[in-house]
Amino acid sequence: MQTIRGKVFITADNIDTDQIIPAQYLNLVPTNPAELEKLGSYALCGLPDNFGRFVPEGQIKSPYAVIIGGRNFGCGSSREHAPISLGAAGGKVVIAESFARIFFRNCIATGYLYPIEAEKRLVEVLKTGDEVEVDLDKGTLTVVATGKVFKLRELGAAKEVIDNGGLFEHARKSGMLK
């Protein structure tokens, strides 16, 4: 059974890649471990201040494992730094009503983050800090305090790619790459 338990961080509709990782931090190269950690510390710092901070000031990790979005999460740039920064900060899953195409693909190719669609508009029913349990096999999100369960859409074949650790590992395991 594959479950992720943690606190949620609430965002909104059309969270673009500039808000996830502002372009001035694209000078950091994700394949360099020290720079990867730094990228994580800046995750979602481009959001307007009223959302609060995904990564607290002066820290490098986020207390939130579950990011909640509205429609079109991750729109904009093809920068892989976006899913990577969320993952490097400690994010495990993004649950949104819908995803922008390249962000969704980058989540899968990197294996950093599960991009999962919710059937309900969770940005309006959850609040930042709520403790939840996400069951990736059953496709459910359960609010720990109330026991309320929300249905998630299936990730399908893409889940196996992330489970395997991303595109390259998946390609090797499935024999597509030597």
Binding site: Q24, G46, N72, S77, R101, R105, N106
Partner: protein, 434 residues
């Protein structure tokens, strides 16, 4: 089987007779482009996965065009350029346009066509979401992340889903005076919304599109991503071939959609109904007519980028600015060295563009790069640092896009940006055009 142009190109790339929307196919890449902000990460993954001594799948098919953060003192940015330079040397890449050398060109999406890397019927991947620009040449072109790009770099292949196509027919003769390709695409994005074309191909056709220059077609395809599309595309014609044949000697195939191809939607526009529009903060679909956007004061104007920094964009701006004075700081960033050189070569009204911009009181043009289109390091030319309101010919007006989270960006055509620079307010350019 009837197919759209996008399906035909992907079928060819997959070595299949036909493909349909929704099919997952392995395709052969004809060109992989990367630059300074995603190149080093892509190269890092390439080395990690294929080995430090691995060779790229085909050195003729890799284009390296560092363009984002070039003219800065930021040491990390300069290091990233160096990483690209070293890789190009190690791999002996013939198509590397390296900053601070004679080979430097500038913005990748203007460099690719100018240097002859765009060809009808081909499949291009680039580590930049605006790679969709090159659909203007009748090819399939789309943006990918570093991991996918490293996979392509090593294998030449990528697994992709064939997108369903949406058709946009623009008809009724050439665009009316004062209306540019930027207005057409902002109109369409305003109608669709920023996720209206997610996972789709946006195919543009009709006699109004056919009447556009290649640069104006690039502007339209460039912003397909702002509606969420996988690619934008325009079938090649004589205008395409004139441009291509002057720049490439490699063979290519021209495709066109079959008359009975399947579209998920068809939307029609009449040229006469199109007017100058802007996209107000903070979303490219927040469209208003320039004439009735309200009394919006601006602090600066910015003309540049892959979307609005081509030579045709500067000629349009010069038409409006000629003989007049700007009321706000006006930043000019030619996209490439070729465009920068044309500032002194092209004359309108008997004056060079350089002279017109100088007489109008614009700031001296910056050297070619992406510059402030996407904010960047603190010392980036034209970057916002406070509460500036900037009217810009670029492609995105997300919160903080040009630097400061408190600044605001209004997207417009070069005509509208120039007219607004003259008045200090969002202005319909037809007030200044005869």
């Amino acid at each position: 089987m009837a197919m759209t142009i996008t399906e035909k190109i992907l079928a060819k790339g997959a070595g299949k007779k036909s493909v349909s929307a929704g099919d997952n196919v392995w395709v052969q890449a004809d060109i992989l482009m990367t630059h300074d902000v995603c190149g080093p990460g892509t190269i890092g993954i390439f080395h990690r996965e294929f080995g430090r001594d691995a060779k790229v799948f085909d050195r003729e098919r890799i284009v390296l065009a560092p363009d984002h953060y070039i003219f800065t003192k930021d040491q990390m940015c300069l290091r990233n350029i160096e990483t690209c330079r070293t890789f190009a040397a190690e791999q002996n890449l013939p198509y590397a346009y390296i900053p601070f050398t004679d080979s430097y060109s500038g913005v990748c999406h203007v460099t690719l066509p100018q240097k002859g890397h765009c060809r009808p019927g081909e499949i291009m991947f680039g580590t930049d979401s605006h790679t969709c620009t090159h659909g203007a040449f009748g090819q399939f072109a789309t943006g990918i992340g570093n991991t996918d790009a490293a996979f392509v770099m090593g294998t030449g292949k990528l697994l992709i889903k064939v997108p369903a196509s949406m058709k946009f027919l623009v008809e009724g003769g050439p665009l009316p005076r004062g209306v540019m390709a930027k207005d057409v695409i902002l109109q369409i994005i305003g109608d669709l919304g920023v996720e209206g074309a997610t996972y789709r191909a946006m195919e543009f056709a009709g006699d109004t599109i056919s009447a556009l220059s290649i640069e104006e077609r690039e502007t339209i395809c460039n912003m397909a991503i702002e509606a969420g599309a996988k690619n934008g595309i325009i079938a090649p014609d004589y205008i395409t071939l004139d441009y291509i044949l002057a720049r490439t000697r490699k063979p290519f195939t021209c495709f066109a959609s079959d008359a009975d191809a399947t579209y998920i939607s068809v939307k029609k526009y009449q040229a006469k109904d199109l007017v100058p529009v802007v996209a107000l903060p903070h979303s490219p679909d927040n469209r208003k007519n320039a004439a009735d956007a309200g009394d919006i004061k601006i602090d600066r104007a910015y003309i540049g980028s892959c979307t609005g920094g081509k030579i045709t964009d500067f000629i349009a701006a010069a038409e409006v600015l000629n003989g007049r004075k700007v009321a706000v700081d006006t930043f000019l960033v030619p996209s490439t060295t070729e465009v920068a050189a044309q500032f002194d070569q092209i004359t309108i009204f008997g004056k060079t563009l350089t002279q017109i911009f100088k007489d109008a009181g614009c700031l001296p043009p910056a050297p070619p790069s992406c510059a402030a289109c996407l904010g960047g390091p603190e010392d980036t030319f034209g970057r916002t640092h406070g509460t500036e309101v900037c009217i810009s010919t670029t492609n995105r007006n997300f919160i903080g896009r040009m630097g400061s989270k408190k600044s605001a960006v209004i997207l417009a055509s070069p005509y509208t940006a120039a007219a607004s620079a003259l008045t200090g307010r969002v202005t319909d350019p037809r007030e200044f055009l005869g």
